[in-house]
Protein backbone atom coordinates (compact mmCIF):
# COMPACT_ATOMS: atom_id res chain seq x y z
CA UNK A 1 0.00 0.00 0.00
CA UNK A 2 1.39 3.42 -0.94
CA UNK A 3 2.08 5.96 1.84
CA UNK A 4 -0.87 7.98 0.52
CA UNK A 5 -3.33 5.16 1.18
CA UNK A 6 -1.78 4.40 4.59
CA UNK A 7 -2.43 8.03 5.56
CA UNK A 8 -5.98 7.93 4.14
CA UNK A 9 -6.82 4.85 6.22
CA UNK A 10 -5.08 6.02 9.41
CA UNK A 11 -6.25 9.62 9.26
CA UNK A 12 -9.70 8.53 8.08
CA UNK A 13 -10.16 6.22 11.08
CA UNK A 14 -8.78 8.76 13.55
CA UNK A 15 -10.88 11.58 12.12
CA UNK A 16 -14.00 9.45 12.18
CA UNK A 17 -13.37 8.55 15.82
CA UNK A 18 -13.19 12.26 16.68
CA UNK A 19 -16.27 13.14 14.62
CA UNK A 20 -18.44 10.28 15.90
CA UNK A 21 -17.64 10.34 19.63
CA UNK A 22 -20.30 12.98 20.32
CA UNK A 23 -23.16 11.63 18.18
CA UNK A 24 -22.51 7.94 18.98
CA UNK A 25 -21.70 8.09 22.69
CA UNK A 26 -23.84 11.03 23.79
CA UNK A 27 -26.77 10.29 21.50
CA UNK A 28 -29.83 12.43 22.22
CA UNK A 29 -29.00 12.86 25.89
CA UNK A 30 -28.84 16.43 27.06
CA UNK A 31 -25.66 17.80 28.54
CA UNK A 32 -25.72 19.31 32.05
CA UNK A 33 -27.16 22.87 31.97
CA UNK A 34 -23.91 24.82 32.50
CA UNK A 35 -22.18 22.84 29.74
CA UNK A 36 -25.20 23.29 27.45
CA UNK A 37 -25.00 27.06 28.02
CA UNK A 38 -21.31 27.12 27.10
CA UNK A 39 -22.12 24.96 24.07
CA UNK A 40 -24.67 27.55 22.93
CA UNK A 41 -22.05 30.26 23.17
CA UNK A 42 -19.28 28.26 21.50
CA UNK A 43 -20.32 28.89 17.87
CA UNK A 44 -19.76 32.66 18.13
CA UNK A 45 -16.22 32.08 19.37
CA UNK A 46 -15.50 29.30 16.85
CA UNK A 47 -16.92 31.25 13.90
CA UNK A 48 -15.04 34.38 14.93
CA UNK A 49 -11.78 32.45 15.13
CA UNK A 50 -12.46 30.84 11.73
CA UNK A 51 -13.05 34.31 10.26
CA UNK A 52 -9.88 35.68 11.79
CA UNK A 53 -7.65 32.72 10.99
CA UNK A 54 -8.83 32.42 7.39
CA UNK A 55 -8.53 36.20 6.86
CA UNK A 56 -5.18 37.20 8.33
CA UNK A 57 -3.21 33.99 8.78
CA UNK A 58 -0.80 32.48 6.32
CA UNK A 59 1.93 30.00 7.09
CA UNK A 60 1.55 30.24 10.88
CA UNK A 61 1.99 33.99 11.12
CA UNK A 62 -0.22 37.04 10.71
CA UNK A 63 -0.40 38.18 7.10
CA UNK A 64 -2.29 41.34 6.21
CA UNK A 65 -3.16 41.17 2.54
CA UNK A 66 -6.04 41.78 0.13
CA UNK A 67 -8.17 39.18 1.94
CA UNK A 68 -8.66 41.64 4.81
CA UNK A 69 -10.05 44.32 2.46
CA UNK A 70 -12.38 41.72 0.94
CA UNK A 71 -13.71 40.48 4.28
CA UNK A 72 -14.22 44.06 5.54
CA UNK A 73 -16.19 44.75 2.35
CA UNK A 74 -18.20 41.60 3.09
CA UNK A 75 -18.91 43.01 6.56
CA UNK A 76 -20.17 46.25 5.02
CA UNK A 77 -22.42 44.22 2.73
CA UNK A 78 -23.79 42.38 5.79
CA UNK A 79 -24.39 45.72 7.49
CA UNK A 80 -26.46 46.72 4.44
CA UNK A 81 -28.42 43.46 4.88
CA UNK A 82 -27.12 41.92 1.67
CA UNK A 83 -27.96 38.22 1.13
CA UNK A 84 -25.37 35.57 1.98
CA UNK A 85 -24.19 34.86 -1.58
CA UNK A 86 -23.81 38.59 -2.34
CA UNK A 87 -21.64 38.98 0.76
CA UNK A 88 -19.32 36.23 -0.46
CA UNK A 89 -19.27 37.63 -4.01
CA UNK A 90 -18.42 41.14 -2.77
CA UNK A 91 -15.59 39.77 -0.62
CA UNK A 92 -14.14 37.80 -3.54
CA UNK A 93 -14.43 40.69 -6.00
CA UNK A 94 -12.87 43.27 -3.65
CA UNK A 95 -10.04 40.89 -2.76
CA UNK A 96 -9.33 40.25 -6.43
CA UNK A 97 -9.38 43.95 -7.33
CA UNK A 98 -7.24 45.03 -4.36
CA UNK A 99 -4.74 42.28 -5.12
CA UNK A 100 -4.57 43.33 -8.75
CA UNK A 101 -4.00 46.99 -7.78
CA UNK A 102 -1.57 46.47 -4.89
CA UNK A 103 0.11 43.45 -6.34
Amino acid sequence: MSPGFVVIVGLGLGTYALKSAGPLLLGGRRLPAPIERVAQQLPAALLASLVVVSTVVGDRSLVLDARLAGVVAGGVALRLRAPFIVVVAVAVAVTGVVRALVG
Binding site: F5, G14, L18, Q41, P43, L47, S49, A91, V92, V97
Partner: protein, 228 residues
Protein backbone atom coordinates in the same frame (compact mmCIF):
# COMPACT_ATOMS: atom_id res chain seq x y z
CA UNK B 1 -41.24 32.00 9.81
CA UNK B 2 -43.02 29.08 8.11
CA UNK B 3 -41.30 25.78 7.35
CA UNK B 4 -40.90 26.46 3.65
CA UNK B 5 -39.21 29.81 4.17
CA UNK B 6 -37.01 28.22 6.80
CA UNK B 7 -35.99 25.34 4.53
CA UNK B 8 -35.24 27.72 1.68
CA UNK B 9 -33.06 29.86 3.93
CA UNK B 10 -31.12 26.79 5.08
CA UNK B 11 -30.67 25.66 1.46
CA UNK B 12 -29.25 29.09 0.60
CA UNK B 13 -26.84 28.93 3.55
CA UNK B 14 -25.73 25.40 2.61
CA UNK B 15 -25.29 26.29 -1.06
CA UNK B 16 -23.34 29.48 -0.33
CA UNK B 17 -20.96 27.89 2.12
CA UNK B 18 -20.32 24.88 -0.11
CA UNK B 19 -19.69 27.06 -3.18
CA UNK B 20 -17.34 29.17 -1.07
CA UNK B 21 -15.26 26.02 -0.57
CA UNK B 22 -15.03 25.19 -4.26
CA UNK B 23 -11.72 27.04 -4.80
CA UNK B 24 -10.19 25.23 -1.85
CA UNK B 25 -11.28 21.86 -3.24
CA UNK B 26 -9.51 22.72 -6.46
CA UNK B 27 -6.41 23.80 -4.55
CA UNK B 28 -6.49 20.54 -2.62
CA UNK B 29 -6.58 18.53 -5.85
CA UNK B 30 -3.64 20.54 -7.14
CA UNK B 31 -1.76 20.00 -3.84
CA UNK B 32 -2.29 16.22 -4.12
CA UNK B 33 -0.70 16.13 -7.54
CA UNK B 34 2.18 18.31 -6.31
CA UNK B 35 2.70 15.82 -3.45
CA UNK B 36 2.88 12.97 -5.94
CA UNK B 37 -0.56 11.52 -5.19
CA UNK B 38 -2.95 10.25 -7.85
CA UNK B 39 -6.64 10.81 -8.49
CA UNK B 40 -7.75 7.78 -6.40
CA UNK B 41 -5.76 9.01 -3.42
CA UNK B 42 -7.09 12.56 -3.78
CA UNK B 43 -10.67 11.27 -3.81
CA UNK B 44 -9.82 8.96 -0.89
CA UNK B 45 -8.81 11.98 1.16
CA UNK B 46 -11.83 14.07 0.24
CA UNK B 47 -14.43 11.29 0.68
CA UNK B 48 -13.00 9.31 3.62
CA UNK B 49 -11.05 11.86 5.68
CA UNK B 50 -13.45 14.64 4.56
CA UNK B 51 -12.03 17.46 6.69
CA UNK B 52 -10.30 20.13 4.62
CA UNK B 53 -7.73 21.40 7.09
CA UNK B 54 -6.62 17.89 8.10
CA UNK B 55 -6.36 16.88 4.44
CA UNK B 56 -4.20 19.89 3.60
CA UNK B 57 -1.96 19.24 6.61
CA UNK B 58 -1.47 15.55 5.83
CA UNK B 59 -0.83 16.10 2.12
CA UNK B 60 1.50 18.97 2.99
CA UNK B 61 3.57 16.67 5.22
CA UNK B 62 3.66 13.99 2.51
CA UNK B 63 4.69 16.61 -0.06
CA UNK B 64 7.60 17.71 2.11
CA UNK B 65 8.75 14.09 2.26
CA UNK B 66 7.34 13.38 5.72
CA UNK B 67 6.33 9.87 6.73
CA UNK B 68 2.83 8.45 6.98
CA UNK B 69 2.80 8.68 10.79
CA UNK B 70 3.82 12.35 10.74
CA UNK B 71 1.13 13.06 8.15
CA UNK B 72 -1.53 11.26 10.22
CA UNK B 73 -0.40 13.08 13.37
CA UNK B 74 -0.53 16.50 11.72
CA UNK B 75 -3.99 15.80 10.35
CA UNK B 76 -5.38 14.55 13.65
CA UNK B 77 -3.97 17.47 15.63
CA UNK B 78 -5.73 19.80 13.26
CA UNK B 79 -8.89 17.84 13.71
CA UNK B 80 -9.33 17.78 17.47
CA UNK B 81 -12.01 20.40 17.04
CA UNK B 82 -14.16 17.77 15.28
CA UNK B 83 -14.58 16.20 18.72
CA UNK B 84 -15.93 19.49 20.10
CA UNK B 85 -18.21 19.92 17.06
CA UNK B 86 -19.58 16.37 17.50
CA UNK B 87 -20.37 16.98 21.16
CA UNK B 88 -21.97 20.32 20.29
CA UNK B 89 -24.14 18.70 17.60
CA UNK B 90 -24.99 15.49 19.48
CA UNK B 91 -28.36 16.66 20.90
CA UNK B 92 -29.56 17.38 17.33
CA UNK B 93 -28.15 14.21 15.74
CA UNK B 94 -30.49 11.66 17.25
CA UNK B 95 -31.72 8.36 15.80
CA UNK B 96 -30.60 4.75 15.58
CA UNK B 97 -26.91 3.91 15.98
CA UNK B 98 -26.56 3.26 12.24
CA UNK B 99 -28.07 6.63 11.38
CA UNK B 100 -25.87 8.46 13.87
CA UNK B 101 -22.81 6.60 12.56
CA UNK B 102 -23.56 7.83 9.03
CA UNK B 103 -24.32 11.38 10.16
CA UNK B 104 -21.02 11.54 12.06
CA UNK B 105 -19.06 11.44 8.80
CA UNK B 106 -20.58 14.83 7.90
CA UNK B 107 -19.30 16.55 11.08
CA UNK B 108 -17.14 19.37 9.67
CA UNK B 109 -16.71 23.12 10.21
CA UNK B 110 -19.32 24.07 7.64
CA UNK B 111 -22.10 21.63 8.64
CA UNK B 112 -21.54 22.67 12.26
CA UNK B 113 -21.77 26.31 11.25
CA UNK B 114 -25.02 25.91 9.31
CA UNK B 115 -26.53 23.72 12.08
CA UNK B 116 -25.67 25.93 15.02
CA UNK B 117 -27.18 29.09 13.53
CA UNK B 118 -30.61 27.40 13.62
CA UNK B 119 -32.58 27.68 16.83
CA UNK B 120 -34.45 24.35 17.11
CA UNK B 121 -33.05 20.82 17.16
CA UNK B 122 -34.97 19.68 14.07
CA UNK B 123 -33.73 22.65 12.05
CA UNK B 124 -30.23 22.18 13.40
CA UNK B 125 -30.35 18.60 12.12
CA UNK B 126 -31.72 19.79 8.77
CA UNK B 127 -29.06 22.48 8.50
CA UNK B 128 -26.38 19.96 9.42
CA UNK B 129 -27.53 17.55 6.70
CA UNK B 130 -27.95 20.25 4.06
CA UNK B 131 -24.58 21.82 4.83
CA UNK B 132 -22.77 18.51 5.15
CA UNK B 133 -24.15 16.95 1.95
CA UNK B 134 -23.68 20.11 -0.11
CA UNK B 135 -20.08 20.45 1.01
CA UNK B 136 -19.43 16.71 0.48
CA UNK B 137 -20.60 16.94 -3.14
CA UNK B 138 -18.82 20.21 -3.95
CA UNK B 139 -15.64 19.23 -2.10
CA UNK B 140 -15.23 15.91 -3.92
CA UNK B 141 -16.14 17.28 -7.36
CA UNK B 142 -13.72 20.19 -7.02
CA UNK B 143 -11.00 17.88 -5.70
CA UNK B 144 -11.32 15.91 -8.93
CA UNK B 145 -11.32 19.16 -10.93
CA UNK B 146 -8.16 20.25 -9.12
CA UNK B 147 -6.32 17.03 -9.93
CA UNK B 148 -7.33 17.40 -13.58
CA UNK B 149 -6.37 21.09 -13.61
CA UNK B 150 -3.07 20.45 -11.87
CA UNK B 151 -1.04 20.80 -15.02
CA UNK B 152 -2.39 24.35 -15.36
CA UNK B 153 -1.10 27.27 -13.24
CA UNK B 154 -2.88 27.31 -9.84
CA UNK B 155 -2.32 31.04 -9.24
CA UNK B 156 -5.80 31.86 -10.47
CA UNK B 157 -7.36 31.10 -7.05
CA UNK B 158 -5.57 33.94 -5.33
CA UNK B 159 -5.42 36.15 -8.43
CA UNK B 160 -9.20 36.32 -8.52
CA UNK B 161 -9.61 36.71 -4.76
CA UNK B 162 -11.37 33.40 -4.15
CA UNK B 163 -9.34 32.87 -0.99
CA UNK B 164 -11.60 35.49 0.66
CA UNK B 165 -14.72 33.38 0.00
CA UNK B 166 -14.47 31.16 3.09
CA UNK B 167 -13.78 33.90 5.67
CA UNK B 168 -16.64 35.97 4.22
CA UNK B 169 -18.95 32.95 4.47
CA UNK B 170 -17.94 32.37 8.10
CA UNK B 171 -18.51 36.07 8.83
CA UNK B 172 -21.99 35.93 7.30
CA UNK B 173 -22.85 32.98 9.55
CA UNK B 174 -21.46 34.79 12.60
CA UNK B 175 -23.31 38.04 11.85
CA UNK B 176 -26.77 37.20 13.30
CA UNK B 177 -25.09 36.54 16.65
CA UNK B 178 -23.55 40.02 16.68
CA UNK B 179 -26.66 42.10 16.05
CA UNK B 180 -30.11 42.34 17.58
CA UNK B 181 -31.16 40.87 20.93
CA UNK B 182 -28.23 39.20 22.68
CA UNK B 183 -25.84 40.89 20.25
CA UNK B 184 -23.78 42.47 23.01
CA UNK B 185 -22.92 39.09 24.49
CA UNK B 186 -22.30 37.65 21.02
CA UNK B 187 -19.91 40.47 20.19
CA UNK B 188 -18.04 40.02 23.45
CA UNK B 189 -17.66 36.28 22.85
CA UNK B 190 -16.71 36.74 19.18
CA UNK B 191 -14.05 39.34 20.00
CA UNK B 192 -12.62 37.13 22.74
CA UNK B 193 -12.59 34.11 20.40
CA UNK B 194 -10.94 36.09 17.61
CA UNK B 195 -8.27 37.53 19.91
CA UNK B 196 -7.44 34.13 21.40
CA UNK B 197 -7.08 32.69 17.89
CA UNK B 198 -4.79 35.51 16.73
CA UNK B 199 -2.64 35.23 19.86
CA UNK B 200 -2.34 31.47 19.45
CA UNK B 201 -1.43 31.42 15.76
CA UNK B 202 2.34 31.95 16.13
CA UNK B 203 2.51 29.64 19.17
CA UNK B 204 0.38 26.62 18.36
CA UNK B 205 0.30 24.20 15.42
CA UNK B 206 -2.23 24.96 12.66
CA UNK B 207 -5.81 24.16 13.69
CA UNK B 208 -5.22 24.51 17.42
CA UNK B 209 -5.89 28.30 17.54
CA UNK B 210 -9.45 27.68 16.35
CA UNK B 211 -9.89 25.13 19.11
CA UNK B 212 -8.39 27.43 21.71
CA UNK B 213 -10.89 30.12 20.74
CA UNK B 214 -13.44 28.12 22.71
CA UNK B 215 -11.49 29.31 25.74
CA UNK B 216 -12.50 32.81 24.67
CA UNK B 217 -16.09 31.94 25.58
CA UNK B 218 -15.12 31.21 29.16
CA UNK B 219 -13.01 34.36 29.32
CA UNK B 220 -15.86 36.49 27.96
CA UNK B 221 -18.33 35.00 30.43
CA UNK B 222 -16.15 36.18 33.30
CA UNK B 223 -15.71 39.59 31.72
CA UNK B 224 -17.59 42.80 32.47
CA UNK B 225 -21.32 42.37 32.22
CA UNK B 226 -21.22 38.67 32.96
CA UNK B 227 -22.65 39.17 36.44
CA UNK B 228 -26.19 40.11 35.52
Amino acid sequence: MDDRTRRRRIHRQALSISLALAPFGIVFGVACVQAGLGLAEAIGFSAIVFTGSAQFAAVGVLGEGGGALAAIGAGLLLNIRSLAFGVLLAPSLTGRVGVRALLAQLVIDESTAVATVQDEHRWRRYGFLAGGLAVFAVWNLTTIAGVLLASVDDGFITDLGFDAAAPAAFLALLWPRLVGAGGAEGRRIAIAGGLVAVAAVPLAPPGIPILLAGVGVLAARRGPGAAR
